[in-house]
C-alpha cells in the first residue's frame, strides 16, 4: 500500500497552479484535502505522475456573501469550517445540516468542498447538497473562468464538466426564498460510513402552505446525485399531505432513483430506505417551512 512514484509541486498562487495544469494536462492531479485521492494512490488505483498541491492557496479558502445575497464558498474550504461557520448555518442550512454526516471529524478537518464536488462520488453528501441548493460552480483556467449550474456540472460516476486545465475555485449558493424548508437524512451502517441511502429535500411553500417548489436529491442512488423530478411535481401544488408524501416517496424510490446495490444494502433495501427517508425528510422539511411561514406548530 505504497503509492507509485510521482512529482509534487506546491504552487504559491492560483495563477501558477493554472499554468502548471495548462502545461501538464491530464498527467497532473490536483491535491486538495487528499481524503479520496491519497487512499486511491496508496492502493495504486491511481498513479498520477504529478501532484499539484493547492493547500497553500489561501485565496481559495473563504466563506462570504455577495451583494445578491449568494453565499460564496472557496473551493479549499474544509468541511470542518463549513460545519461551524455561522454564515453557512444561517444562509445554507441544508449544507450545514449535512456536514456532520460526512465521514469523521479527522476527515472533515482535511476534506474540502471543491475536492468533494470534483471527485463526484455518487455516495458523497456534498454533490447532492449542491444540486439541492442549486449551487453555481465557478471553474477557472488560464483562458478564463466559467460558471456551471450544479445540474450540468455532475455528469455521472466520478465525472464532472470540469476540464483537465481547470480548477474549481468557488461555489455560490443562492439565498433561499421565504417559507423554504429543508431536511437532510441518511442511513449509514456506522457513524461516518458512506450511507446506504440518503436524501436532501428542499421545499418552498406559498403563503397558504401549498408547495410551490420541491427538490429531492438522493445519494448512493445511481451514478451521481439523483434528482427525483417527477416526485417533486407530485408535491408541487399540494399542501402538507401524507398521501402526497407517500406518492412522492413511491415515485422517487421505485421509478426515479437507480441504486446499484452493494454488500451493505441490496437494491431492494436501498429503494426501501429511500422511501422511508423521503417520508421522514418531507415531514421535517414541511415542518420547517411552516415555521418559516409563521405557522405555530
Amino acid at each position: 500500500m505504497k503509492p507509485a512514484a510521482f512529482e509534487y509541486i506546491v504552487p504559491d498562487s492560483l495563477e501558477q497552479a493554472l499554468s502548471i495544469l495548462q502545461e501538464h494536462g491530464e498527467e497532473a492531479k490536483i491535491l486538495a484535502g487528499g481524503q479520496s485521492l491519497v487512499p486511491a494512490m496508496n492502493f495504486r488505483m491511481l498513479q498520477p505522475t504529478l501532484l499539484v498541491d493547492l493547500n497553500k492557496l489561501e485565496e481559495l479558502d473563504h466563506i462570504r456573501r455577495n451583494e445578491a445575497g449568494d453565499l460564496l464558498v472557496g473551493a479549499m474550504t474544509r468541511h470542518r469550517r463549513l460545519e461551524f461557520d455561522n454564515l453557512v448555518a444561517q444562509y445554507a442550512p441544508l449544507l450545514h445540516e449535512s456536514i456532520p454526516s460526512i465521514a469523521h471529524p479527522q476527515i472533515r478537518n482535511r476534506g474540502t468542498l471543491g475536492g468533494s464536488l470534483v471527485h463526484a462520488d455518487p455516495a458523497a453528501e456534498l454533490p447532492v447538497i449542491a444540486l439541492a441548493v442549486d449551487a453555481q460552480i465557478k471553474v477557472q483556467s488560464i483562458g478564463g473562468e466559467r460558471t456551471i449550474p450544479s445540474v450540468e456540472f455532475f455528469q455521472g460516476m466520478f465525472t464532472t464538466d470540469i476540464n483537465p486545465d481547470e480548477i474549481l475555485v468557488e461555489v455560490a449558493i443562492p439565498e433561499s426564498s421565504a417559507r423554504t424548508g429543508w431536511a437532510f437524512k441518511e442511513i449509514a451502517r456506522r457513524a461516518g460510513d458512506y450511507a446506504m441511502m440518503g436524501i436532501a429535500v428542499r421545499i418552498t411553500l406559498d403563503e397558504d402552505g401549498v408547495c410551490e417548489k420541491a427538490c429531492l436529491v438522493y445519494l448512493n442512488a445511481g451514478d451521481g446525485p439523483m434528482e427525483a423530478v417527477e416526485a417533486a411535481k407530485i408535491l408541487e401544488g399540494q399542501p402538507r399531505d401524507d398521501q402526497a408524501f407517500e406518492a412522492a416517496a413511491e415515485k422517487a424510490s421505485q421509478d426515479e432513483i437507480d441504486p446499484l446495490g452493494n454488500m451493505h444494502a441490496n437494491v431492494d433495501f436501498q429503494r426501501h430506505l429511500a422511501n422511508v427517508l423521503t417520508l421522514r425528510a418531507l415531514d421535517l422539511a414541511f415542518q420547517r417551512a411552516d415555521v418559516d411561514r409563521g405557522e405555530n406548530l
Partner: protein, 781 residues
C-alpha cells in the same frame, strides 16, 4: 495493615509508555543497512502457476534480490502442523499446510509467490508490480456445501475430496434420548466469524550477526519461544544462536499464533542469505488475505426436551470451513463441538463435523476460536424451545444449568487440549441472578417494555449464557529474582499483546514478596531472557504463566525466609515480609531489606553454603492437568427501528466468573474489548467473498469494525468461583466478552420486533439482512 495488590483495581503500569509512544513495536526496529521486503501475492484464489519471470523487477534501482519458490532450493518447505489431531476414535484428518512460497498452484488469494528485497518498501512494491506470472485459472471452491459435491474442483488434488477432517464425538445415546422426548426441534443454523483486524498488522525484522553467529528476530508473534525453536531447526542453527523478541504488539487475538506464517519462515532466511537486516511490515490490504481468519459453519442441529423444558439430548452435524490449508489442526471446530454443551446438563449428545478445504484464506482461532459457533447453536435452540413450550427464556436456562454441587462435571468428550471435557468448578445461578439484577430484567419485562410497546417502539431484551474452556496446558515457566537494589525481576516466556501482563504479573509477585508493585519489573517475550514455554493463547496467560510466576515467587519467598531465619536466629514462622523488608514479627527494628539480603546471597568473598544456590532467585513452572472452565451471562436491551432496521443498544451487561480476579480493572477491559468484537461479529463484520474467491471488502471502508460510536457503555459484574486446578484459583477471561454476543443479538432483536414466526438463525446480521428476514417471514415464498 498490609498493603494488598492481588485483587486490586490497579491502573495498568504499561499504559504511560504505550500512550506516549515510548513502547517498542516491531516497526520501530530500524537497523543500519536494513532492507525491506514486499511480497507478490496471488490475485487468484485457485490457479496453476505456469511461469514466473522476475527479471523486470531488477530494472528498478535499489532492488537487492528477488526470490521465488525455485530460488529457495532445499529451504523450500511447507509450514509445520501446529496442532495434531486429537485422540478420537475413527478420526479423519488430512494434513495440508501452507507453502513458504507457492511452487505450482495457488490455493487462495493472497498466497505469497515471490518476495522482493529492496532499499525501501516503495521500491520493493514497484518491483513486485513488474514480476510477470502466467496463471492458469482453475475452478474455484468457495461454498462449503458445493465443495463436497462430487463434481467440485479439488483444493488439494492428491485427496479424493475437499474433506479436510471428519470427527464424531458422542456422550450417552442421543437416539434413546430422542425417543423419550416430548418435543424435538430441528434447525439449520449459520454462524460466520470474521477477521481479528488487530490494530497492528504482522511484522518481522531479522538480523544475522556474523561475528556473534547469532540471529535476532523481532516478530509480532504470540509465541516467541516456539518460533525460536522452529527457526533454529529450519535454519540449521542451535537454539542458543537464535533470539526471538516479541516486543509490544498491537493486539494478538489468535491469528498471531499461527506458527509458521510463510513470512516468518522466509524473512530470517533472507537475512542470512544476504547478510543484511530485513524488515517486512504487513499492510492492511495484505492482512485481510494473508493473515489467518475465522469463518463460517453450517449446523444442522436438533434438540430433544421434556414438556417441562428439561434438555434430554442434542444432535448436531456441522460443516466447518478450514480454508486452503489446516496447519492449526482442529482446534476451532473442536471448540465449537465442545462449547455447544455450555453451562447446561445435556445428558446425551451426538456431534459430528466435517472440515472442508476451500480456496479461501486459512482459518485458525480468533478470540473465541469456534466457541461462538457452538454457543450460538445451543442458545438459539433453547430460545426456540422456550417459545415452543411457552416458557420464559430465563426459566429454561435456569432449569438446565449444571447444579452447583455437580462439579467436577464430566462431559465425556475430548476438548482442544486433548483432555476430557471436565468442568472443574462453576456456579451458574448467581451469575444469572446478578445479570438479571443489573439489566433490570423484571422491571423491563413487566413495566418498561409494555409502556414502550404501547408507544409504538420496538425495544427488546436478551439474556444468554455460556462457558469458556480456558487456561489449557501444557505449561509455562518463570524466573523471579530479588536484585541488590531491592527491585524484583520477573521473566516469563509468554508474549504480551495488550493484556496488561506488566501489571497483573507484578501484582502476583508483589503479593508474595511483600514489595510495592512499582518495584517489580516484568519482562515477557524475549527468548534470551527465558526460553521455556508455549505462548499466549486460549485465555491461558494469567492461568498458566501467572501460576508459574506465583510458584517461582513462592520459592524466592522461601529462600528469603531461610536466610533471614539464619541471620536473626529465629524460626521462619516468626518472620514477616512487608514493605521490601523481612523482619522479626512484632519487632520491625530487627529487619533487613530484601536488597541487602540479595547482596548477602551473592557474596564476593567467603563461600556460599554447600547445597544452596547463590542469589535470591528461583525458576519454576506450572502445568495444569487440564483446562479450567470459566462462565458468564450477557444481557442487552436494544431498540430496533422496524423501518430501517438500525439498532440502538440501550444497555449491555456482562457478568462473568473467572475464579479469583487478579485485577478487576484489567478484567473489565478484557470484557469491554471482547464485547466490542462480539458486537462487530453480530452486526457489522462480514468477510464477503465472491464466487471467484475474491474478498470484496478487504479494507476498513467496507469491512465494518464497530467504532466507539457503535459500542455502548458496558456494565461488568463478577462472580468468583475458584478453580481447584491451580493454586491461585484463577480461570482465563480473554475470550469471554466475545463469545455469546451473536445469540444475544438474535434473541434481543427477535424480542424487540415481536413478529409471529420470526426466527433469526444466522450471524452476522445487518439492517439489510434483517429487513429481508422480516420480509420472508411476513410473505413466505
Amino acid at each position: 495493615m498490609k498493603k494488598r495488590f492481588f485483587g486490586e483495581r490497579i491502573k495498568r503500569r504499561e499504559d504511560p509508555r504505550l500512550l506516549t509512544g515510548q513502547a517498542l513495536f516491531v516497526d520501530d526496529v530500524n537497523l543500519p543497512k536494513m532492507i525491506h521486503a514486499a511480497f507478490l501475492r496471488s490475485p487468484y484464489a485457485h490457479a496453476r502457476i505456469i511461469k514466473i519471470d522476475s527479471s523486470k523487477a531488477f530494472d528498478h534501482p535499489g532492488v537487492v534480490a528477488v526470490y521465488t519458490a525455485s530460488d529457495l532450493g532445499a529451504y523450500w518447505r511447507n509450514g509445520p502442523l501446529l496442532v495434531s489431531p486429537p485422540p478420537i476414535e475413527n478420526i479423519v484428518f488430512h494434513e495440508r499446510t501452507q507453502q513458504i512460497l507457492v511452487r505450482d498452484k495457488v490455493r487462495h488469494v493472497g498466497e505469497p509467490i515471490a518476495v522482493v528485497l529492496a532499499e525501501d518498501r516503495y521500491i520493493a512494491e514497484d518491483a513486485v508490480a513488474d514480476i510477470l506470472v502466467d496463471y492458469e485459472p482453475l475452478d474455484v471452491v468457495v461454498d462449503m456445501e458445493k465443495a463436497l459435491e462430487p463434481q467440485s474442483a479439488l483444493v488439494h488434488e492428491d485427496l479424493p475430496s475437499n474433506i479436510a477432517a471428519h470427527v464424531v464425538q458422542e456422550k450417552g445415546n442421543y437416539q434413546q434420548a430422542k425417543e423419550k422426548a416430548d418435543i424435538i426441534l430441528k434447525r439449520r443454523l449459520y454462524y460466520d466469524h470474521g477477521t481479528a483486524a488487530a490494530m497492528e498488522n504482522r511484522g518481522i525484522v531479522a538480523e544475522w550477526d556474523p561475528k556473534a553467529q547469532r540471529l535476532t528476530v523481532w516478530d509480532t508473534t504470540q509465541a516467541p519461544i516456539p518460533i525460536r525453536n522452529g527457526l533454529a531447526s529450519m535454519l540449521g542453527l542451535s537454539e542458543s544462536q537464535v533470539r526471538v523478541i516479541a516486543p509490544f504488539i498491537g493486539g494478538g487475538f489468535g491469528p498471531k499464533i499461527m506458527m509458521f506464517y510463510p513470512e516468518e519462515m522466509i524473512i530470517p532466511w533472507v537475512a542470512l542469505q544476504l547478510n543484511r537486516p530485513v524488515k517486512w511490515i504487513e499492510d492492511r490490504a495484505e492482512n485481510f488475505v494473508a493473515t489467518t481468519q475465522e469463518r463460517d459453519q453450517i449446523h444442522h442441529a436438533e434438540i430433544a426436551l421434556t414438556k417441562e423444558g428439561r434438555i434430554l439430548g442434542v444432535h448436531d452435524v456441522f460443516l466447518h470451513d478450514t480454508g486452503a490449508y489446516d496447519p492449526y489442526g482442529l482446534t476451532v471446530p473442536l471448540n465449537s463441538q465442545c462449547t455447544l454443551l455450555g453451562p447446561y446438563d445435556i445428558p446425551d449428545y451426538y456431534s459430528e463435523f466435517t472440515a472442508v478445504f476451500t480456496n479461501k484464506p486459512i482459518v485458525t482461532p480468533y478470540r473465541g476460536a469456534g466457541r461462538q459457533h457452538g454457543v450460538f447453536v445451543i442458545e438459539r435452540l433453547l430460545d426456540l424451545a422456550a417459545k415452543e413450550l411457552g416458557m420464559d427464556v430465563i426459566e429454561i436456562r435456569r432449569k438446565n444449568f449444571i447444579k452447583a454441587d455437580a462439579f467436577p462435571f464430566d462431559n465425556k468428550i475430548i476438548f482442544q487440549d486433548f483432555q476430557p471435557l471436565v468442568y472443574d468448578s462453576g456456579n451458574y445461578e448467581p451469575i444469572l441472578d446478578q445479570a438479571l439484577e443489573r439489566i433490570g430484567y423484571i422491571d423491563f419485562v413487566n413495566n418498561v417494555q409494555p409502556r414502550l410497546t404501547a408507544e409504538g417502539r420496538h425495544v427488546g431484551i436478551g439474556v444468554v449464557a455460556y462457558v469458556e474452556g480456558t487456561g489449557i496446558g501444557p505449561y509455562e515457566g518463570a524466573r523471579v529474582q530479588i536484585q541488590p537494589s531491592g527491585k524484583i525481576a520477573v521473566v516469563t516466556g509468554v508474549g504480551t499483546q495488550g493484556q496488561g501482563h506488566f501489571t497483573s504479573f507484578a501484582q502476583i509477585v508483589a503479593e508474595q514478596l511483600g514489595v510495592d508493585i512499582e518495584d517489580v519489573e516484568v519482562v515477557t517475550g524475549d527468548t534470551d531472557q527465558f526460553h521455556w514455554g508455549t505462548g499466549t493463547f486460549a485465555s491461558r496467560g494469567a492461568v498458566v504463566a501467572g501460576n508459574a510466576i506465583n510458584e517461582a515467587a513462592k520459592d524466592v519467598r522461601a529462600k528469603v525466609l531461610r536466610m533471614a531465619s539464619d541471620r536473626f536466629e529465629v524460626a521462619e514462622e516468626d518472620l514477616d515480609i512487608r514493605g521490601g523488608q523481612v523482619f522479626v514479627r512484632g519487632v520491625p527494628q530487627r529487619g533487613v531489606s530484601l536488597g541487602q539480603l540479595a547482596v548477602e546471597a551473592n557474596p564476593l568473598r567467603g563461600t556460599v553454603k554447600p547445597g544452596t544456590e547463590p542469589g535470591l532467585e528461583a525458576t519454576n513452572y506450572f502445568g495444569p492437568e487440564m483446562g479450567t472452565t470459566a462462565s458468564g451471562v450477557h444481557a442487552m436491551i436494544v431498540e430496533v427501528d422496524p423501518q430501517t432496521m438500525m439498532i440502538d443498544i440501550q444497555k449491555f451487561v456482562v457478568v462473568h466468573d473467572c475464579g479469583r480476579v487478579i485485577n478487576p480493572m484489567i478484567l473489565d477491559g478484557q470484557m469491554h474489548g471482547g464485547v466490542a468484537q462480539g458486537i462487530g461479529n453480530a452486526f457489522y463484520e462480514k468477510l464477503t467473498f465472491d464466487e471467484n474467491g475474491q474478498l470484496l471488502n478487504g479494507s476498513f471502508m467496507d469491512y465494518l469494525i464497530p467504532t466507539a460510536r457503535e459500542i455502548p457503555r458496558i456494565d461488568v459484574g463478577h462472580e468468583e468461583t475458584l478453580s481447584p486446578l491451580n493454586p491461585l484459583g484463577i480461570k482465563g477471561a480473554g475470550e469471554a466478552g466475545a463469545i455469546p454476543v451473536g445469540p444475544l443479538f438474535a434473541q434481543a432483536i427477535e424480542n424487540a420486533l415481536a413478529l409471529d414466526g420470526f426466527e433469526i438463525l444466522e450471524i452476522p446480521l445487518s439492517p439489510g439482512r434483517l429487513w429481508e428476514l422480516v420480509r420472508e417471514t411476513q410473505s413466505p415464498a
